[in-house]
Symmetry: D2
Subunit: 413 residues, 4 copies
């Protein structure tokens, strides 16, 4: 096309561009976006500790495609070379934003307002950025109010991707692909050490837990972790509490005897009786106080003051009184509980795991344990580069983990 | 234990006890429940059409274990030989029932009130039976009100399990175990014929649909089914509508170009822009009317008057305005929409599929299609004996199904 | 069809026909085979201990379909009411049998020769029965020689299916469906008890082992089982020995450091160096004697005198000198090693597991452990009704099993 | 460690180091190998077409660790800066090589002999390089003969990794991660185009096929591909031929009626009768000539002159006469058949797929189709960077593929 005009932009990036595979991704984006690039300057880090610095001219054949291209480069740490303020535009109606709003990633982000770069607070993916005076924060679309000033377009934005740090003890561990053919004991040892380090730094640890933890006999070990102080936040659904109560009241899980491992005929009604028992008592806390529930995960949470939130879902039986049945409220309470946690461990729940993954900034490590590799892959794929997947039996995993954290299981509890 | 007293009860059952494997299950329950049995009378069906009749004396060493045993036999079609009225007891508080309430299965059930056997309405599993005058109906625990008369204990109850009918064309088909190593075309042919038969009987067909239908390119074929009149009810979550809108507005699904099959860089923001576009319009119907949405699954649903309900979940982005965010309300609306449907087809959604499975009586056939055998197995295991599982690619499945129902895909729509 | 002639046969069966679900299967076969049945006599077992007795008239509209139907009833324990000798026909050429040869199941079988019922030896599935004088035995088609007298047709045959025994401790355990959502510790306890019982009865235990046992860190626990005397036969492939040697010589498995759990760069060559080291020594035994191999699974097998056989496959690297590269010879040696074993445990190998399943009579219990439910289901589906499936992490499983058998792992070995 | 001496080496690399992610991998290897690096020179490709050039000094604290590090860098395209001849050492005994032999990757490799760089022939992974005069070739360890001159150590070696080419139409397609949530129709279109291109270049196409192709009803479409000339080589096992013959002779596959999709009682014997029928005829070709086999995959292969090889395995029934029961011979024949093929398509067989993957040079694209994502992942992980995985139903995939290649299925054949 001889007469085609060329549109160009110059972007810059700096950091561990090679080891974080950003440089490669940047080039890919340009070519796959139908553009061309020319490296104007590249200063490679001479040693592993040094940053690299890139100045890149990108060109396309239309202004919209150039804009899309630059937009796609921002999450990779590029920013337009020419400094400018972010463009702010007011929301016209509650719960909506202008069409060209900047939709966030979970990476650290800055916006330039009145010539100054300010950090975006409450970083999470899939949000708009609302600027108010000298502060900027991520806000879910539904929480935007008419008149809020929304960051639009691509100028005045800087994203700093998490750099993979080769020197960190868990670097290689974290870059492991998902596989069931690994020695789990080595991974458990790493996770235990990460947990101890998080506690030593004074950080809270959140667990996101599916009912499979109860079915697979992991509850005695998980309660040991609670008692040992490793569980600060418990995010789950109604089913966890129901099956935990069933195990406490009847010794079964989905009607299967947990000791004998065999189905108890008539046991399929146990979970309904458990729901009824808790709701008659007035919910979990009341059931604990009245002595209706005397053991299990929820009892230990109540005793240890763990911040637990049970989110409702369309498949819930009951639900028990504690379940937050409105999912907007449940998301808000999950988000609040996750504020500032240093580490998240997801045990056998794709639904709640994905929900939590959407809420976290990129720098919080997430451990995902599931016997189904598809679940682990799916959680790791959702932009949560920080996810470490472990394909194993969650009951036996908890047994190992409690052992390595000197958290003895008390079968009577 | 020489001095042990023996407690006995006599139960009766009749029907296709052999071919429905009920006789075997009845004996299993007695032995595994720690009891003993003595066949007092067994009259085998002489030919395939004849019923068998059983009178069985069961004995255990304690009254409670005898009660548990008889309770476990009721879902298998046994009833206590001695006729008596069901025991009714009033609920003491809203949302609760007496401890020994009868928790329903999804099988046809009758209760005896004032000497007369009456059919239980709105049959579903995990409910209480509320008797009011000469009527009885299943009611979820949360919908029970103080003073409602609840069926308790085991007397005055008759359950009639669905009998497998060897002569039915789809008998062998329905008893297939879950396997990915089958010829899907043969199964599609059966399902198409079942759908035609359901429509010929004037029954409605409900689809329960996950967003994978969009990702796998099944939407053009699914919309063809809508236009051809095979979709009366659509039960889904927020994600289906979001990804359908993303495909309609941007041609991508989760940022992947549906034509080229490759990731579009920057495409990860498409779903947020799609949500914003719909919510700015005021929801799906308004977006269709205003011409914001011009094609896709939701557009066809609006045009064809399909009863669609989107249930919220903890992992929702947005959600779009149409999503029912309270799960109690979502369950109630799902249940209402399912009232009287003749067939249910679940496409790639474990969450909504289990939710729907909990709501259906045992005589509504459910087809479950998923590429993950674990999902199919899980749905088939949850007491939904009527579930036919098909492990295959859902996009290609819909392509085949539309072809066999003469429902041509219109790529432009 | 008014003029159609009807062909009939009368068959008899006795045993635990209800609890083994044989009665149901018999009726199914008749109806699905296009026939009709009439129960001429049915005497139900009055208690759980009593046998049931059936006399059944079956009818079809052609002689060939009647024959096929009776043929299909034989594996279910039916025999033609009229006693007759088995028909014997000579093989015409080595490795072949007459077209209508009786193809065996893995159930106990008797043939009538000269008026006497004789037991078939070396029972296995997919074989012909060769009669020689007063003895009869299963023989693979390839081992048939011209002139061998082969059992043909359906007369003179009696098959006695394994009856499920409700009183056996492991009855309910064995009838568990495949699921990853179970408490593995309960299952391990059962398996440990079954192993102790087998040893107490003086029976040998065979393990069928894939290399995943090494990758997942199970080797120290498996070698503990060898030292404790629980492994009499080891059936595996070349890969087990290769990865075991790699672990012994380099501390890696497929290039992954077993202690650290991370990939060792350059480690992908370790398995080739291990193969070369063993083959230079002259094979495994020589490598042990010369001190080339000092620890690991194969070393312990050599020391403990375990009968090990490594079967070749198309994906083998090397192979090491011990590998039996001709699969006919490998099958023959597997079969010989399995003669009379009391229990088989298959650890993470579908290929060898299916191979072994084909060789076993129905009364030898098989435990199949794999993290992939598809593998467990496939092994359980192949006519091996005796298979108990366990979906879990095989490394952690072996850790648990060694613990419950008081077989302490010696990390140094 | 103050007194520690430092050992250094200088390596060079050139090529598309960024987009092939080699630069990142090179740095990773150094750091994870316990070394340090210093970039002495890096010349980045200014545009997408330009090569990059790297000179890197690496240092460690011991000579062995330096050697291991340099060894690990060679497959990434690095070569020692100082030119030297490869060190050659004679094999001492048949089937063995010196301890420090160079174990090949599947990438293009050159060795320097007498000052000249010569290309290594028959490139494949896990082989030794034998130099004879002015030629060098990969040789499996077992094929090495005493006296062969083997390349040892790390000098005089150059490996040229395949560069990912962003401009190639299938670049993005090939870099797709494994997922079942994709639109298969888009992928089929790509594959069809790749096949047409391969044929247009005069290249042969090899299919590696499991029996699932028959079970899932793919055979009519696969035979259409044979007739249309798209299948030059068929690599499979005994089971494919057995189940193909069962389908041809009885219309069933593993006893399941392919039309009706339901189990045929007694059908479990069909595969044994099929084996007997073929072996009585004297093998597949003879069975075709004698009219015993008149349709199916193997018949079409015989008619079209497709080079087919059936490799034996431990789980084989029969096997049929054509099966190569010695796996060394089977590997050799597979390897010979693959010589020079331009494209390989693996359909539902992990066993044979891994076997073939081991034999191929890195520049032959491999398509792997399986409904089980674990199989696809495993094949893609085994160093076969050229593998494109597709998680879908193989029967429906073949239906689509035949359609897009205008190869109509003839149900009668």
């Amino acid at each position: 096309m001889t007469n085609s005009r060329t549109y160009t932009a110059t972007v810059k990036a700096e950091g561990h561009l090679i080891d974080s595979q950003l440089l490669n991704a940047i080039f890919d984006v340009v070519i796959e976006g139908g553009g061309a690039f020319e490296v104007q300057h590249f200063d490679i880090g001479r040693t592993n500790d040094d940053f690299s610095r890139l100045t890149l001219k990108v060109s396309t054949e239309s202004k919209p495609s150039l804009d899309r291209l630059v937009e796609a480069l921002i999450p990779l740490g590029c920013h337009v070379a020419e400094e400018q303020d972010a463009r702010l535009q007011a929301s016209e109606a509650d719960g909506t934003v202008p069409d060209d709003f900047y939709s966030t990633t979970n990476q650290r982000t800055q916006v330039r307002v009145d010539g100054a770069w300010i950090d975006v607070e409450h970083q999470r993916m899939d949000a708009a950025i609302v600027v108010s005076g000298r502060t900027a924060g991520c806000r879910k679309l539904r929480d935007v109010r008419a008149g809020d000033r929304i960051v639009c377009g691509l100028g005045g934005l800087r994203v700093t991707p998490e750099f993979r740090d080769r020197e960190r003890a868990d670097f290689a561990f974290m870059s492991n692909e998902v596989s069931s053919e690994r020695r789990v004991e080595a991974s458990v040892e790493r996770i235990a050490r990460m947990m101890e380090a998080a506690k030593a730094r004074g950080q809270r640890i959140a667990f996101v837990v599916g009912p499979v933890v109860v079915h697979t006999g992991g509850a005695p070990y998980f309660t040991a972790l609670i008692r040992a102080g490793y569980v600060d936040v418990l995010l789950a659904g109604n089913a966890l509490a129901v099956h935990d109560a069933e195990a406490a009241l009847f010794g079964t899980s989905l009607g299967v005897d947990l000791e004998a491992g065999t189905a108890v005929y008539g046991g399929h009604q146990h979970h309904m009786r458990a729901i009824n028992a808790i709701n008659r008592a007035g919910g979990i806390r009341a059931a604990v106080e009245k002595g209706v529930l005397t053991r299990g995960v929820m009892v230990e949470c109540v005793r240890a003051g763990v911040d637990y939130i049970l989110a409702g879902s369309i498949r819930d039986d009951g639900p028990i009184a504690d379940t937050v049945t409105d999912i907007i409220e449940a998301q808000n309470r999950y988000t609040a509980a996750l504020d500032g946690v240093g580490m998240v461990i997801v045990l056998s729940t794709m639904l709640h795991g994905i929900g939590v993954g959407n809420m976290l900034p990129a720098w919080v490590p997430v451990i995902c344990v599931d016997i189904n590799p598809a679940v682990v892959t799916k959680l790791a794929d959702r932009g949560s580069s920080q996810t470490i997947g472990l394909v194993t039996d969650v009951g036996l995993f908890l047994h190992q983990l409690a052992g390595r954290l000197d958290a003895p299981a008390n079968p009577a509890v």
